[in-house]
């Protein structure tokens, strides 16, 4: 079996371009998850018992079912009821929702790690609930949550190929098209594998650096 360098060089530019789409998808999905996760975590701390349980069960449901299935569901169910979603929009919603559920667990852990005395001091100063969360609790909750949050960035990048199944033109999809066109998958898929390696290994290192920077900036640890 020979590696065809000519083919490899020919497809590389296309794959690099598709990598941008992959990174864009990952960043958008991650941004949605950062906010969505916080909403879901706070949603499990409301005074309303019904809301708390509903959010909790939703989070558990999303975390217990395959992402690829959720992607299919969101993309295909819409049209059945008259809502057409483009592959990108459906993909971002699915990715964002799925990772929001994971992030919410990380946030929950962070929130629970904040000492009770902080809540009491905020109450003694008569801070509003909003101020208490925004200025006192959440800044402290984020620090222990950083590691988990960082890990999911790498995870979401590796999950972007799943979007190819509904036609999102990211890296995997492009490689499959190229492979089908040329009737040869060795070069495209191997390059894709290498690109992922080259992204995920430094990404892990970067998140650790960011974690330390954030710790220092918040004056703790």
């Amino acid at each position: 079996m020979n590696w065809r360098w000519d083919l490899a060089w020919q497809v590389l530019p296309h794959l690099l371009e598709a990598t941008l789409a992959t990174l864009a998808a990952a960043i958008i999905g991650y941004s949605i998850a950062l906010v969505g996760g916080l909403v879901m975590a706070l949603g499990q701390r409301t005074p309303s018992r019904i809301l708390t349980v509903a959010v909790r069960e939703t989070v558990e449901f999303i975390r217990s079912t395959p992402l690829v299935l959720q992607i299919f569901f969101i993309f295909f169910v819409g049209p059945q009821f008259g809502i057409r979603l483009s592959p990108w929009v459906a993909g971002m919603i699915a990715l964002g929702l799925h990772y929001s559920a994971y992030m919410s667990e990380v946030y929950r852990g962070g929130l629970e790690a904040v000492p009770r005395g902080q809540w009491e001091a905020a109450l003694a100063l008569n801070l509003s609930t909003r101020s208490t969360y925004m200025r006192i609790i959440i800044p402290q909750a984020i620090v222990p949550a950083i590691t988990g949050i960082g890990n999911y960035l790498v995870g979401i990048i590796k999950d972007t190929p799943l979007l190819s199944v509904i036609g999102v033109a990211e890296l995997m999809h492009t490689a499959s098209s190229i492979g089908a066109e040329n009737l040869r998958f060795l070069e495209p898929y191997t390059i894709v594998g290498l690109i992922f390696l080259l992204i995920s290994l430094p990404a892990s290192g970067l998140t650790r650096l960011f974690e330390n920077w954030l710790r220092r900036k918040l004056g703790m640890g």
Partner: protein, 221 residues
């Protein structure tokens, strides 16, 4: 078409899909456990070559997406003379991928066993193999059980990807049904519910039960 109607018509196909999913799960899990133990031990070896072989395996399979790995095994390996059936490609891909994550758990757990245990076994003149097998591994097992439980749930969810290389699991069946009938909500909804039942109502309690038994066994011993 109502949901119950849908189930009454398509339950045989869903059931056959579930059977394949479960078979894949157990085979992949078994492979993953074996690979994880071997790779985990290899990473602890004093021999550089052995250690690096393990590191390469672990980083490659953790740093690239499972979908990429499945496609590679199914589309590229035949070019090297190794053609696998879809089912086999599926469980081998899953097992190798999970094994890489599992290897880190195994390594971490072995290193977490208190040094004193190793020294006591040494003082009793146990051979290294016996020491590992009867003293260290059982304790490491208790330490790694909870995170392994989470890994197994991830395995169940990611097993859905084998449908994309044509293995006829549950995901594959509902995809087919969707393509021919466009009853997306019913088909994908049924799959979501079934995966949820498998993960949360069957797998999670089973893992907890094993954890509890292991804890009792170690305490009595």
């Amino acid at each position: 078409m109502s949901f119950w109607n849908f189930l009454s018509i398509y339950w045989p196909r869903l059931l056959s899909g579930v059977v394949i999913t479960v078979e894949l799960f157990f085979l992949a899990a078994a492979l993953a456990i074996v690979v994880a133990v071997v790779a985990g031990l290899m990473k602890l070896s004093s021999n550089r070559a052995i250690r690096w072989a393990a590191i390469v395996y672990i980083e490659v399979f953790r740093g690239t997406s499972l979908l990429v790995q499945l496609y590679w095994i199914f589309f590229v390996l035949p070019l090297f003379g190794l053609t696998l059936e879809k089912f086999n490609a599926g469980f081998i891909g899953l097992g190798m991928n999970l094994g890489a994550y599992g290897a880190e758990l195994v390594r971490g757990a072995i290193q977490a066993v208190p040094k004193g245990q190793w020294e006591a076994a040494y003082a009793l003149s146990m051979s290294p193999a016996r020491r590992m097998w009867r003293i260290v591994l059982p304790q490491a097992l208790a330490i790694m059980l909870p995170p392994w439980g989470n890994l197994l749930i991830e395995l169940l969810k990611y097993s859905a990807l084998v449908a994309l290389i044509g293995a006829t699991d549950l995901m594959f069946q509902v995809k087919q049904i969707n393509s021919s009938t466009f009853l997306s909500a019913q088909a994908f909804g049924a799959a979501l519910i079934i995966y949820y039942i498998l993960a949360r109502l069957l797998l999670t309690p089973a893992v907890r039960w094993i954890e509890a038994r292991m804890r009792r066994k170690l305490q009595r011993g």
